[in-house]
Amino acid sequence: MRKELLAISAVLSLAPGVAWGQARVPDLAQATLEELMNIEVTSASRREQRADDVPASIYVISHEEIRRSGLTSLAEVLRLAPGVQVSRVNSNKWTVSVRGFSAPTSKLLVLVDGRSIYNPAYSTVYWDTEDVMLEDVDRIEVIRGPGGAMWGANAMNGVINIITRPATETRGGLARVGGGTFDAADAGFRYGGGMGALSYRVFAQAAGHAASWLTSDTRAHDSWRSVTTGFRSDWSRGRDAVMLQAGATVGQQRPMWFDTSATTSSGEASLAQSNTHVGHALGRWTRSSAGGAALQVQGYFDTNHRDELIGLYDRRTWDVDAQYNASFGPRHAFVAGGGYRYLTETLEGRGLYRFTPSRVRPGISNGFAQDSVSLAGGRAEVTLGAKFEHSTYAGSAFQPNARLLWKATPRQRVWTAAARAVRTPSLVDRGLQLEYPAIAGPFGLPLVTGAVGNPDQRNEGLINLEAGYRINVSGRLTIDAVAFRGWYDDLQTQEPPVAPSMAIVNGLPTLIALARYDNLWRAETVGIEVAARLQMTHAWTIDGSMSTFGMTPHAGRSLDTNPALVDGNTGAQQWRLHSSWSLGGDRLFDARLMRVGRLAQAGLPGYTRLDARLEWPLARRVSAVGSGQNLLDSLHRESVPDGGLTVTQLPRSATLGLVWRF
């Protein structure tokens, strides 16, 4: 506790030295335009465009924030948003969750430019194949709470929207090279150009990551590497705009799955390497009409291949979506849309894992509509929306929501929302067949244990209520607070058999005791999330956030004792404090302190993390960047064993790199 208080005061009170090479700032009311255009804007103006009037728990991680974080993986960058829990399992695996249920990450929808990167079969997001070039990410919108109405099923606890920059903004070249103790080596290159209304960029990056640690003197075997390449082009003329993009990532990882082919059910961690390759192509056409309405049509193709110890997985997705926005008079803002997605997923289990059926081809059609009505002379806004989705594999889901925004004073906003959301069962939930080798059981009979999916597995449901408050104090301090309460129903459980059944296996009477997937838990969640930003001076900004979370489970008839269901493997509290300085002459220094709370049920202690980053221009277009992560602890653990992966300890690390912009 003392260590933390010391670190907080250090981060907060380090006088930034406003005198470090800053020109004297003129009195703005008297300044000429030329003088105004010469003032260094140290936090990008876009950061100030917070979503004041959005009646939802939204936090936007801006381009500037990503750049100054010193982080190189998408999953790590998500730590910057309040209420998001990121746990690094080992060097190449993360679980990311919002408001509980982090094992696995089944209730979060993640989109990159409107394309889903959620893995339906495993009900999770695999971050090791998502190698977006962070320099070309415009922003990441993190919406906590049900996003069902706009984005569909499986957006139960939140939606993460990663949006890349249009090609018009990335003209010119960028080359980056670096290395470090944990992010072993990386290089990236991007070139953007254009002719008239057409802009494009091409990019490639390669990275190698070192292994983490099992104990303080035993290295783990979880190194990984990947190569990514892609392009994006944007064209617009008159009222039409067209965007095209494509990308591919090839990677090799050592996830350290438990090797279930050993004679005991808890085998050693396997050193087997996984090979992955993913690719996509996406096109989007937007047409704005004279009255301010807009029609957007998007289509994409996505392929995902994972060749791993536990199974061979292949997925192809074809998706087409249309969305129409219009205003009806000055009071109504209306959005409606629909789409169709066709997937083919094949999962051939290996070793003891089997999936039945091993292949699914669901067609998912969806439609949604939403209307925002401005009332009381513009002081209030009511939004009603709903999404209907039907999957040929998982059935139907209807997700309505209602929101209210009240502009209490020019500087304060109050909002409230009620929504219903759903998570549909996955290929694993319905078709898993896992049987461990027989061991000696009671009465001298062989006993087979394992787990089996439930072909009648139902949707999980959520009814969520939240309320929020935003205030802007004197234009320099902004605070955004949210409180929420959720009622979950039909949560997935693994039910141990009441009594084993008997079968003849290979001529021998055998006891079979397989746990079966079912939907027998309910739970309530509650929490508060607060984010604040204080612009101390022209050159110094402090921002911070805090979140608390609690879950009350109701076991009902369930016999499942998995602790993940009791506190959702989510720390009761998290906070983050970040100090951002511009030292003049484009030198930038950032320090960030984060605390992730204890996982009570799982017995995992909390940890405090200090990161720092320094950007130092060496020449007009070349900068050196040095950063350090986890500076307070030489090793720490962030996760508990679950889902067959080996959990390792993560080290203190530092990287050094050069960036050249031309």
Binding site: I8, S9, L12, S13, V18, R24, V25, L28, A29, A31, L33, E34, M37, I39, E40, V41, A44, S45, R46, E48, Q49, A51, D52, R139, T168, G238, S288, A290, G291, G292, A293, A294, N325, A326, P330, R331, S374, G378, R379, P410, R411, N472, S474, G475, R476, T478, V526, I528, V530, M536, T537, H538, M546, T548, G550, A572, Q573, W575, L577, D586
Partner: protein, 187 residues
């Protein structure tokens, strides 16, 4: 409510940290120096200057006040009110319309639309088509799609792009001083 209080009581440490942070923030706000330019204040200064170098068509009562309006950015609105409230431009009093409602936008002379949402900016611009209102938003895209001025950041400094034809069509006259410092764009 009881569950919220109960939860807070149990997480005493979180409360302590939150309290320390709040105290720190409050102290910092009180202590923050006078020599600082927030992005909101800078934006407000630009908007004030746009108003200084623009001529609107002559109105019946020649000395009617100039109305400056901002949508969706409380910080900039606050900064503009502090900077320009009570000032006068070309003999006209400047009034910053606080919390202007969508139905009253036609009474604005300068309108700044904040936010990344291109759709709502387009909708507002379409509604106001033909009115002599200087429309400003963020990004270069805005003046290419019916707006007049787009504020942008280039290499850590604030710039602006102007579409002179759009301004001309609505009867708003922009001084050559503004046009010479701007990036000119077309539809």
């Amino acid at each position: 409510m009881v569950w919220a209080l109960d939860m807070i009581a149990r997480r005493r440490r979180a409360l302590l940290v939150a309290g320390a942070l709040a105290l720190g923030l409050a102290a910092a706000t009180a202590v923050a120096g006078a020599e600082d330019v927030t992005p909101a204040a800078l934006k407000a200064a630009f908007l004030y200057n746009f108003a200084k170098f623009t001529e609107w068509p002559v109105e019946p009562a020649a000395s009617t006040p100039l109305h400056l309006c901002i949508l969706n950015d409380q910080a900039a609105e606050e900064a503009l009110a502090r900077l320009a409230g009570g000032a006068s431009i070309n003999g006209r009093a400047v009034i910053v319309m606080r919390g202007v409602a969508r139905e009253r936008l036609r009474s604005c002379h300068l309108l700044y639309l904040a936010g990344d949402d291109a759709h709502s900016a387009d909708a507002v611009v379409a509604e106001l088509q033909g009115a002599a209102i200087l429309t400003v938003s963020d990004g270069e895209r805005f003046p290419r799609h019916g707006g007049m001025v787009g504020l942008l950041i280039e290499g850590n400094r604030m710039r602006f792009a102007i579409n002179p034809e759009t301004a001309q069509r609505s009867g708003v006259r922009l001084s050559s001083r503004l046009l010479s410092l701007a990036t000119i764009v077309n539809d």
